[in-house]
Amino acid sequence: MDKRPKIAAIATIYHKYSHTQHIVDRFLEGYGWNSQHHYPPMDLVSLYVEQVKDNDLSSDRLERFPTMKGYPTIAEALTLGGKELAVDGVLLIGEHGEYPSNDKGQRLYPRYEHYMQIVEVFDRSGRGVPVFNDKHLSWNWDWAREMYDLSQSMDFAFMAGSSLPVTWRTPSIDMPLGTTVSEAVCVGYGGVDSYDFHALETLQCMVERRKGGESGVKWLQAYRGDAFWNAHHSKLWSKELFEAALCRSHTLTPSRPGFNNPFPTIDEMKEIVNDPIAYQYEHNDGLKSTMILMNGLVQDFNFAAYIGSHNDVLSTQMYLPMPPARTTLANFFSPLVNNIEQMFLTGKATYPVERTLLTTGLVAAGVDSLHDGGNLQNTPHLDIVYQSTEESTYWRT
């Protein structure tokens, strides 16, 4: 591409520490990258923000960056007020803002609705451009699938997901490509239909590198409260992997007063964690993965798996420098934006959107299982087969 790409940002809301602020600011203000303050070689020319409230930052950003214009509709943001598509890439950030929840507790962010408006402009212009969708595709599986299918049929680059797969790791390791994986666990924190997605992406970005690649998921079952502890005691998931993941945490809640970093006993964990949650699922090739949310015990995302012929434990933390407690910048957005930039420059996603299609379906299945009293959910629709990129895509330079 011989000219600087023009980018449109479609957002639900733009306030301090919203995903829009983290992502769009990096395009406008640049960010620390590889020993420089890096400015993306592209221009963010248009902005659509659905909700403008007292804490709004979009007016400040529009004023300080006059090359970016605000538009009242998504279509106009993509056409820059004209008739046809006039941008070379689209950021779709449907996270944060006031939206209703359904009876299953899912926040009904309008990612699908916004996406469909974007695609409508593509359709009428006879061409599509790369789209990045922040977090999972939609709370609704059918809609998520439709989003994916449209990107395929209209043949535009589509990338999505969480920062977890691309952020720093301590230690800085990846799953060896093509190794056998017999079981995987992620221990993280946060809520259902929000951070469960991050934990699932953490798992998936690792296990998709296993021998044969991703084969899809045949069922999922959720465990909560006593059912969680019963499952834990019945060794439904490996205690060794669970503990290995905890041993990668930098934020283990001290289980005894006066000690800053003891390892909690099971009884202490039960005291600390009021509402433990697990989603366990079996992939079509037989691998079992378990996502565990231990609110109160940890505030980070830790991965562990048995790999290779000797079932060696591989473990790491996907590190989030999270403001405001630990940092001022949510710099895990820097590698995410860097990957998005690559897509906008090359027209190719740097890692497969099928990962996020699968994790989108896993979140929905997890929510359904919890809503269904922890019953097993068959997931024939998650027959999503794909291969990982050969090269690692996490932050290591």
């Binding site: 602020q21 203000e29 303050h37 001290p254 000690f259 001022t328 932050w395």
Partner: protein, 391 residues
């Protein structure tokens, strides 16, 4: 099972003694496992026991004795040395300051009492000394000389050289270095020490190894910016170091934005009293520490290698309180010393940094003059293998 004596100034929650000694009592995370050292704390000396003292509680729970003197601690109340290693932690507690604002922690005095026991009982055991050896180079030198004379392993220093790095990089051993710049924050003399040692663990890997420090100068205030504009330290390296920071202040605090603090001038507004520590080495290499309170809250380094267009930069990752798992990284090195008798990296690093810091503070005290430092003729070779957390 090795028997460990703990000799410390104070043992309260979140003091260095609690961080380090507790890990020998309850274990710590290491390479993805909860590791319990095959060692036992058998005795402890605690100089100050104000409210909140935990030493008696720990002694009861973990079955060791708190003795009133260091000699009794090392001899476990008997008449011969009865431990296999000493964990010496002279950090925290109420101690006076000198006119250069150095806290006069009694590390040298504690160490000499250990050495006296070693000599009287004709058996010396490894010592880990937390942080710098002493506020005084002369005393620090004597400590290192004692270790060589009596042939016991001595490890010392900060957690920064051994913690995780973001990104996980080290300098290639024997590389040709053109320039180095470290950004640190916090008070003097505790935190500038950490920053100097973090920088030292990088630059000691340059071609020819460490040659010692020929001269230092510490300047404060607007002179720091002036010296940067005049090229005495590199703005390019400052940008590189900032590119690794997760904690820019000012506008980022206000609305979360990323910012180029040099280009937008925020750095000049945010830092009330910058300090620059200029270090000239015997082989002609020069390095700079900038203490930039108000600009950022983390520790980042940037280094210019010959023939490499892009500087190498990284953040020394100080993991969150209260776990401070970076101290687990250091405890694994201490355990290695105690287990093998050999320090995984030379105490000369800490000796040189102890003396460099003292001379920098002397430069400030004497009106920011450049001081020649022939006494800092400390030569050593770094370990070939990187020692920071990688697994």
């Amino acid at each position: 099972m090795k028997r460990i004596a703990v000799v410390t100034t104070i043992y309260r929650y979140l003091t260095h003694a609690q961080h380090f000694a507790d890990r020998f009592l309850v274990g710590y995370p290491k390479e993805g496992k909860w590791h319990r050292p095959n060692m036992k704390v058998v005795s402890m000396f605690v100089d100050q026991k104000p409210e909140g003292d935990q030493s008696q509680d720990r002694a009861r729970e973990f079955g060791f004795t708190v003795y009133p003197t260091i000699a009794e601690t090392l001899r476990c109340g008997g008449d011969k040395i009865a431990v296999d290693a000493v964990l010496l932690i002279g950090e925290h507690g109420e101690y006076p300051h000198n006119e250069m604002s150095q806290v006069l922690y009694p590390r040298y005095e504690f160490f000499k009492e250990c050495v006296k026991v070693f000599e009287e009982d004709e058996r010396a055991v490894p010592i880990f000394n937390d942080k710098h050896l002493s506020y005084s180079f002369e005393k620090a030198k004597e400590m290192v000389d004692d270790a060589h004379r009596l042939n016991f392993g001595l490890l010392a220093g900060s957690s920064l050289p051994v913690t995780w790095r973001l990104p996980d990089v080290d300098l290639p051993l024997g590389c040709e270095l053109e320039d180095a710049l470290m950004v640190g924050v916090g008070g003097s003399d505790p935190m500038d020490y950490h920053a100097l040692e973090a920088m030292q663990c990088m630059v000691e890997r340059r071609k020819g190894g460490e040659t010692g420090v020929a001269a230092v100068q510490l300047i404060d205030g607007d002179e720091v910016w002036k010296s940067g504009k005049e090229g005495r330290w590199s703005m390019e390296l400052l940008e590189a170091a900032f590119s690794r920071s997760d904690t820019p202040c000012g506008l980022t605090d206000e609305d979360g934005r990323t910012q180029d603090m040099i280009a937008n001038g925020e750095i000049y507004r945010l830092v009330d009293n910058p300090s620059a520590y200029f270090i000239e080495y015997n082989d002609g290499f020069k390095a700079t520490l900038l203490m930039l309170n108000g600009a950022v809250r983390d520790y980042c380094v940037a280094v210019k290698l010959k023939d490499e267009p892009v500087p190498v930069s990284t953040q020394f990752f100080l993991t969150p309180t209260p776990n401070v798992t970076y101290s687990a990284c250091l405890v694994s090195k201490i355990e290695e010393l105690f287990e093998t008798g050999d320090a995984p990296y030379p105490a000369e690093r800490t000796l040189l940094v102890s003396g460099t810091l003292e001379s920098c503070l002397m430069s400030r005290h004497q009106g920011h003059v450049r001081l020649e430092t022939p006494h800092l003729n400390v030569k050593y070779r770094p370990p070939a293998e990187s020692q920071h957390a990688q697994r």
